[in-house]
Amino acid sequence: MSLDEVTRLEIGSDVQIAGARQAVREAAVAAGFSLVEQTKIVTAASELARNTLVHGGGGHMELAVVENSGGRAIRLTFTDDGPGIPDVDAALSDGYSTGNGLGLGLGGARRLVQEFTIDSRPGGGTTVTAVAWSRTAQRVPR
C-alpha cells in the first residue's frame, strides 16, 4: 500500500471485522511497524470495527499510511450512520458498556494509539479516527 492511498473496507459482519484486522496488519507490516506496534494498532482496529458493527449497525473503515517529518503512521477512520454516542466522555470511561464486551473497547483502543478523536451526534452517526505513529518505521525519502 503506497503513501496517501486510502483503502476503504466495509464493516458489516464479524467476518469483515476479521478482514479489517488483516488489512491493518498487512499495512503495518509493510510500513515497517515493530511487532508490538503492529499488535497494538490491529487490536485497536478490532475494537473500533466491532463498535462500528455492534453499535453503529455497520459502516466502513478507511485505512491510510501517512507521514510527516517526524515519521510514519497508520490512520484509521471508522464511520457509521448509527444512532450516535449520546455521551462520548461516558463511552470512553472504563466499564461503560451497552454491548457484549468488557466495556473497555473505546477507552482501550484510545490507549493503544497516539491520536484519537470521536465525532458523534445523537442520530447523526459516529466517526472515530485513530492514528498510531511508529517508532521503528523509517520515513521513506521522496
Binding site: 464479524d14 476479521a18 499488535t39 478490532s46 468488557l102 493503544l112
Partner: protein, 124 residues
Amino acid sequence: MTADAGAGRVSVLRMGEILIAAIQQELTDESALALQSDLTEMAAAGARGVVIEISGVEIVDSFLARVLSEIAAATNMLAGRTVVAGMRPSVAITLVEMGLSLRGLETARSLEDAMALFQGQAGR
C-alpha cells in the same frame, strides 16, 4: 473425543480429565462464541481442567478477553480451572496497555507448562 470442527471452528481435545483447545488462527467473534459453548458443554460432562493454547493468536481484544474470562468462570463453577498457555509477549503488552485483565485465568508459558500444572493434582 473431539467436538465437531467446521470451518473456522476450534477443535477441543480431551486428555483424561483435561480439555485442550489450541487456537491456531484468528477467530471470528462467531467462532470464539462457538468455542465457549463447546468447552462449557464438554466441561459440564466432566473435566477438572481446561487449557486454551493461544500461541497462534496475534491479537486478543476486549471481546476475546471476555470470552476467555467467561470460559474460566464457567469451568471454575464446575470445579475445574482454566489455564491460558502460550500468550505472545506482544499480546500481553497490548492487553496491559489497554487496561484489560484476564480475570480468573491462570497463564502458562507453554502447553507443556500448562499440563504440568495439572500433574500431581489428585483427581476429585
